[in-house]
């Protein structure tokens, strides 16, 4: 081999070495970009999911702090002020303040105990009764087999449904109405909640609104469905929901809402 030939071989070797390095760099950088892309996509999906959770939670809080309810309640309390009924005024102002405190408190938590939820519903319904006087009666029944302090329920889920029953079902009924809320035992990790009223039924209530459309937003059931979807995605619960207009299956009127809850894990944080 002449020196020239050796030179050529050496330079070829060097060249291929450079090629290998370049190829390596390209491979590495594509790998990195791909990895970054996957990470960003994952992050984005995560953020989207978080955003949806926050949106629905905000919506849930808004539906609890329904301005219509807040202002009408204060207006009813004002009546007692005008009448100089100091004790009644005090009683309802304290109840109202308790309720608002519970709204704020629960909105920061993913779940509450059944007894806490019962407390909120009772406070809420007492104020509604103040407004509507003897327009309705309510009962809350919890099966004694359910451990009220230990069994959990997602926060801010039931109250908007109960409010619907009062505002859309019982509100439009001429005679006094009834509202029954029951927590029913299924097994150690599962229970159902039934909210039943003998008002005019959600179909008739919807028809009333159709006269002048847009009057009230009717998306509340959609919001609820999305919230349940998201809760199911957390894999902490399995929740199913159904709503029946009682006039469809009997000669009674009213609305029956049923929710089934199953706790999938004890691993709540």
């Amino acid at each position: 081999m002449s020196i020239e030939e050796i030179n050529i071989i050496l330079s070829l070797l060097a060249l291929s070495g450079v090629f290998v390095v370049v190829a390596f760099v390209i491979l590495f950088s594509t790998f990195i970009t791909k990895k970054n892309k996957i990470i960003t996509e994952k992050l984005r999906a995560e953020l989207d999911y978080q955003k949806r959770i926050h949106d629905t939670e905000l919506h849930a809080l808004r539906s609890q702090m329904n301005p219509h309810f807040v202002h009408n309640s204060l207006n009813a309390i004002l009546y007692y002020v005008q009448q100089n009924e100091v004790e009644t005024t005090e009683k309802y102002l304290v109840k109202f303040s308790k309720l608002i405190r519970l709204f704020f408190d629960f909105s920061r938590r993913q779940y509450v105990s059944i007894s806490e939820e019962e407390n909120l519903l009772q406070n809420y319904l007492e104020i509604e009764k103040l407004r509507f006087e003897d327009k309705f009666e309510y009962q809350i029944f919890i099966n004694p087999k359910i451990d009220e302090e230990e069994i959990r329920i997602p926060s801010m889920l039931l109250q908007p449904l109960v409010e619907n029953a009062v505002n859309h079902g019982l509100f439009h009924k001429k005679e006094p109405g009834n509202l029954n809320i029951s927590f029913n035992y299924i097994n150690e990790t599962a229970y159902s909640v039934i909210i039943e009223d003998d008002g005019i039924g959600f179909k008739a209530a919807q028809k009333l609104k159709e006269r002048f459309k847009n009057m009230v937003n009717t998306h509340s059931s959609q919001v609820l469905k999305e919230r349940i979807d998201l809760l199911n995605q957390t894999k902490l619960w399995d929740i199913s929901f159904s709503m029946i207009d009682l006039s469809d299956m009997s000669n009674k009127t009213g609305t029956k809402v049923q929710l089934k809850f199953e706790e999938l894990t004890e691993d709540f944080n």
């Binding site: 301005p67 219509h68 807040v70 202002h71 009408n72 204060l74 207006n75 009813a76 004002l78 009546y79 005008q82 009448q83 103040l130 407004r131 509507f132 006087e133 509100f171 439009h172 009924k173 001429k174 009333l208 006269r211 002048f212 459309k213 847009n214 009057m215 009230v216």
Partner: protein, 246 residues
């Protein structure tokens, strides 16, 4: 004295209102009150009041439905509502009075004084009829608004309003192919009235109808019917984003 009927389904709300009127509005003579919309319709027809206080959200029938059921609604109305932006906007379009619950005494006195003036003007029928008409119109730009001026009431289609310009608490309303109108309401009033419906407050004293924009200039102006209207610096981004998403 002005004769009035009070209508609210909630007994306590009715009681509160009655007490307040008795205390603060000596020129109002309450001739009837009702908790039921159907009864209220009968009372209005038989007693022919000059003014009614009308709750909006009631069972069976809304306050708007009550109004719709009366053939010749030539009485002044003061609506009462706890909270309903959509309804308030509709009422404002027709220059009709309203009160939010719980009712503020000063607002009550002011609104009643305005209604008292209006009773003498006898403009109620046209305003009430427009309210009913507007409620059945779906597209916002197809509705009409009433603009009170010194000469009287102007009925203007919202789609014809090009631009509103605030000047010292007054508002000059520029209308397509017509002479501008001067309203004693502030620009904020109009901004609220047209909120979320193809109108945008590009500047603290300029509210524009987006359908009339011809061009946006990067120095921060929109061109509308050959006029340069400034877009204030801190509203530019928001404004451009909104145009893009429109």
């Amino acid at each position: 004295m002005i004769t009035a009927i009070l209508i609210d389904d909630e007994p306590k709300a009715l009681g509160t209102l009655k007490n307040k009127i008795k205390k603060h509005c000596p020129n109002i003579q309450i001739i009837a009150e009702s908790q039921s919309p159907t009864e209220a319709i009968k009372l209005i027809k038989s007693l022919k009041p000059q003014l009614i206080f009308l709750d909006i959200a009631m069972p069976e029938m809304s306050g708007f439905d009550v109004l719709d059921q009366i053939e010749n609604p030539d009485f002044e109305i003061i609506f009462a509502t706890a909270f309903d932006n959509y309804a308030i906007q509709a009422i404002e379009h027709c220059a009709i009075g309203y009160l939010v619950k719980p009712i503020d005494n000063d607002e009550l006195v002011k609104t009643v004084a305005k209604a008292t003036e209006n009773v003498l003007e006898k403009s109620a029928l046209a305003k009430n009829k427009l309210l009913i008409e507007n409620l059945s119109v779906k597209k916002f730009q197809d509705k009409k608004v009433i603009i009170p001026t010194q000469e009287g009431l102007e009925f203007i289609a919202i789609s014809e309003i090009v631009h509103c310009e605030g000047t010292d608490g007054y508002t000059r309303i520029h209308i397509n192919e017509r002479k501008p109108l001067l309203s004693s309401n502030s620009i904020g009033h109009f901004s609220k009235m047209f909120d979320k419906h193809d109108f945008y407050l590009v500047h603290k004293s300029h509210l524009i109808n987006l359908n009339y924009i011809e061009r946006y200039l990067n120095e921060g102006y929109v061109l509308i019917q050959k006029k340069h209207i400034p877009v204030s610096r801190n509203r530019r981004n928001d404004f451009l984003n909104m145009l893009k998403n429109k």
